[in-house]
Amino acid sequence: MGKPKVGIYGLTGCAGDQLNIINCEDELLKIFDIFEIESFVMASRAKNENVELDVAFVEGSVSTEKDLEHLMEIRKKSKILVAIGHCAVFGGVQSMFMGKEPWIERYKKVYGKENAVTLTPPLEPKPLAAYVKVDAVLPGCPIEKEPFLKLAGKLAHGIVPKVPDFPVCAECKWKENECLLLKGQLCLGPLTNSGCGAICPSMNIPCIGCWGPIAKENWESEALLLLEKGYKPDEIVKRFAIFGGTERAELLKNFLESHQKQESGK
């Protein structure tokens, strides 16, 4: 078997994930050694867009029609499509749509009018999975070197990698940290995918959830706990929403409304 053919692409995002791949520095040569890099605009002159890819890494959310077109092309030619970074996996901060109005209203608020001049027609920002089948994900904002290398280790053998199914708390306990939630801090550890190694809580900084919500998370229970600890509902919702992705946003709105109703009923 030859070297796996790889393409690394970016849609709408800060390009921080691609940058962190370049930041691997010492390991970069090894990566270029193990994989045949066919396209990596940020780091390589190679640009063979007409070859079939074994693996495509895509960062950024789908936020324009051009993004969508690009994503479709990538999907068509790739065996394994890996969404890297929060934007690609969950939609990123640009997709939290906290406002109550429909997207186009919010768009007008920002750009002043409906037909603002942009490079390409905009779309409501969404994660890759809203449009195409995503085979593997590597969350994080941005992605980290160690988890990326671990993922690359699987892909090197053609194995579709999987992130752990457990929350940051597990890794946090492996680090033998004091629980920040118990200390009254707004820590999103229990709701967040692990893999980061609990970096923030290990430095006494509560988890902000940048690896995205874990599947079937129990955010209701944590929200309630935080209310009890004295946090305001909108404070909780704001923190949850930053990296909560498109799916959680709607639920959070319901939570706020239901809480307000309960308060006013008292």
């Binding site: 990566i31 004091e178 629980c179 209701e220 309630l224």
Partner: protein, 354 residues
């Protein structure tokens, strides 16, 4: 059991003497809590009640390489260090005894055995805080499972010898210990009485196996499941939780393939999920129920005693107050206020479930 006396002033040289056996590890302050850390004996906090993570980390490391793959063959990989672990309380030692039974039955675990062999366990007496309930689990004193055990009588320690290994190691510090006197015995008896009077938790834990069995279909599990964050903290901090997962890791830097074993938890969603996606315990309540029934009923039938040693780690660690005591109280219909108040309010919210 043979017992000697160690003057408090001699404690540091005593520990340093034992340090000739291997690395010195003991309870050290981390924030408001404690952890077992490699340190010099001056840093050991003898008043530490419970460490964040129990001493199981020395025997089943949080993450370790068990096999290496090279030239088409898997070979075993050990990373064993000679260690003196100081400061284990009776509950911790009881937990290790459960670990020992578990990891040496059927297929003795070579990694556990090697780690255990390389370790000198030096226990330390303790005075309970408001969360300790080893008096209810019959684990407040310990007769086996340690090499040496120190009873802290303020100006002196009693040094109990629990194994031939302990006896051998004591030769390293033989100049520091002395014979006990009648006064020491009297003090010890008084100390025991004082300690016994300090326990604050009162609950009938003895009937738990039957009560849990009766309550298999109780709605309490659903309610607890609604609150549980599935964060896995309870299982990580529980000194008798043994579950692990295994995964291969290929390092592209070194071209090395490792098979790794790491702590895992029955409260995680994919714990009972088989390839293809069928999950035998999809509901949080099912997973929670497994933890409590396995701990308090399952172990009974296999080992004759429940696998709870009353260390109180789950009590102080669960962010939403699900622990052996609240579960037991709920099953005994003594619903604890704070927890159930929150549950009632969760129900009132009627939020849409994710």
């Amino acid at each position: 059991m043979r017992v000697f006396k160690l003057k408090r002033d001699n404690f540091i040289p005593f520990m340093k003497g034992l340090g000739k056996f291997g690395e010195l590890w003991g309870p050290v302050k981390k924030g408001d809590h404690h952890v077992y850390a490699q340190a010099s004996p001056e840093q050991f906090d003898l008043k530490a009640i419970r460490t964040i993570v129990p001493a199981k980390k020395f025997f089943l490391p949080k993450k370790s390489t068990i096999l290496k793959f090279k030239n088409n063959e898997w070979t075993e990989h050990f990373d064993v260090k000679k260690r003196v672990i100081f400061g284990l309380h009776p509950c911790d030692i009881h937990a290790l005894n459960i670990y020992h039974k578990f990891y040496t039955r059927l297929y003795p675990d070579p990694y556990y055995l090697k780690n255990r062999e390389a370790t000198l366990i030096v226990g330390l007496s303790c005075l309970p805080d408001e969360h300790c309930f080893c008096n209810l689990t019959d684990t407040e004193t310990v007769n086996e499972g340690f090499d040496l055990f120190l009873t802290d009588l303020e100006d002196r320690f009693l040094v109990w010898i629990g194994s031939p290994k302990g006896d051998e190691v004591l030769k390293l510090v033989k100049d520091l210990i002395e014979e006990t006197t009648q006064e020491d015995i009297d003090e010890y008896v008084a100390w025991r009485k004082k300690r016994r009077s300090m326990f604050q938790v009162s609950l009938d834990l003895e009937g738990m196996p039957e009560i849990l069995t009766f309550n298999y279909d109780s709605p309490i599990w659903e309610e607890m499941g609604d609150a549980c964050l599935s964060c896995g903290t309870c299982t990580m901090v529980c000194p008798t939780c043994t579950c692990f997962d295994i995964e291969d890791e290929y390092d592209i830097r070194t071209d090395e393939m490792d098979r790794q074993r790491f702590w895992y938890s029955c409260v995680f969603r994919e714990y009972s999920m088989v390839a293809g996606g069928h999950n035998f315990r999809e509901a949080r309540s099912e997973r929670l129920k497994l933890w409590y029934t396995h701990k308090l009923v399952g172990f009974m039938s296999e080992y004759g005693s429940p696998a709870c040693v009353g260390c109180g780690r789950c009590v102080v660690s669960c962010p939403v107050d699900i622990n052996v005591l609240t579960v037991a109280k709920a099953l005994l219909k003594e619903k604890p206020d704070a927890f159930w108040a929150r549950m009632a309010s969760l129900k009132n919210m009627e939020v849409e479930h994710a």
